[in-house]
């Protein structure tokens, strides 16, 4: 099985141009740039999803920062 899949995506012309400029500046290929953008997007999405569950759990269990050794400085 191949380790990479080639896909076609469409972008507004201005965005595609800007992407090429950034790729050149950062010495990266467009594929690398898009992979990194998706990695970041997905990582933040996962954090957001788990943090939503975490806050729900803290509320449900009546936990405060004290239960984790706090109160903490913000």
């Amino acid at each position: 099985m191949p380790s990479a899949k080639t896909i076609t995506i469409s972008l507004p012309v201005a965005m595609a141009k800007e992407m090429s400029v950034v790729a050149r500046e950062e010495h990266r290929t467009l594929s690398e740039l898009l992979r990194e953008a998706f990695r970041q997007y997905n990582a933040q999405r996962r954090l957001k999803s788990v943090a939503a569950k975490g806050r729900k759990q803290a509320k449900k269990l009546g936990l405060t920062e004290k239960d984790f050794g706090g109160p903490f400085e913000k």
Partner: protein, 147 residues
């Protein structure tokens, strides 16, 4: 392991309480963790810190193993991981001393913590700045703006 070779990014260690607060209470700690995932700074974590996060999220917050692994996988993907070296004896409190040890061993610029008892009062140890999530976010914004 990553050595301190570039001035173009801040090398930052997060204490476990920052990551736990981010997930259990959101607020400024959440912004700090989110910025690590965006690679706005170079993240350093200790094996001791990862273990503390894992135990608290699983046992106290009672999140599922899958959810805890999901967050830790994302952090580990962007972090340099160190073990406490045992070289530094700065404070008596063993657990917090190990956090300092990791930050110093990794030659971090900043240790971000919410710990008001042992770590924040130190303010600075050698070149290592110890500060709260809010103060760190202000530093990071300034750093990004000026580099």
């Amino acid at each position: 392991m990553k050595s301190k070779s570039s001035n173009s990014e801040l090398i930052v260690c997060l204490d476990a309480n920052v990551i736990i607060s981010a997930i259990a209470f959101k607020g400024r700690p959440y912004d700090v963790v989110n910025a690590a995932l965006s690679r706005d700074y170079s993240l350093v974590l200790g094996t001791n810190i990862i273990e503390e996060v894992q135990i608290n999220l699983l046992q106290k917050l009672k999140l599922s193993r899958g959810d805890v692994d999901a967050v830790l996988d994302e952090l580990l993907a962007v972090a340099s991981i160190y073990s406490p070296s045992g070289q530094y004896k700065i404070i008596e409190h063993k657990k917090d001393n190990q956090v300092l040890d990791v930050a110093l061993t990794a030659q971090c610029d900043v240790l971000v913590t919410g710990d008001k008892r042992h770590l924040l009062p130190l303010d600075k140890v050698g070149n290592l700045v110890i500060e709260s999530p809010s103060r760190f976010l202000a530093r990071l914004a300034h750093f990004i703006k000026t580099t």
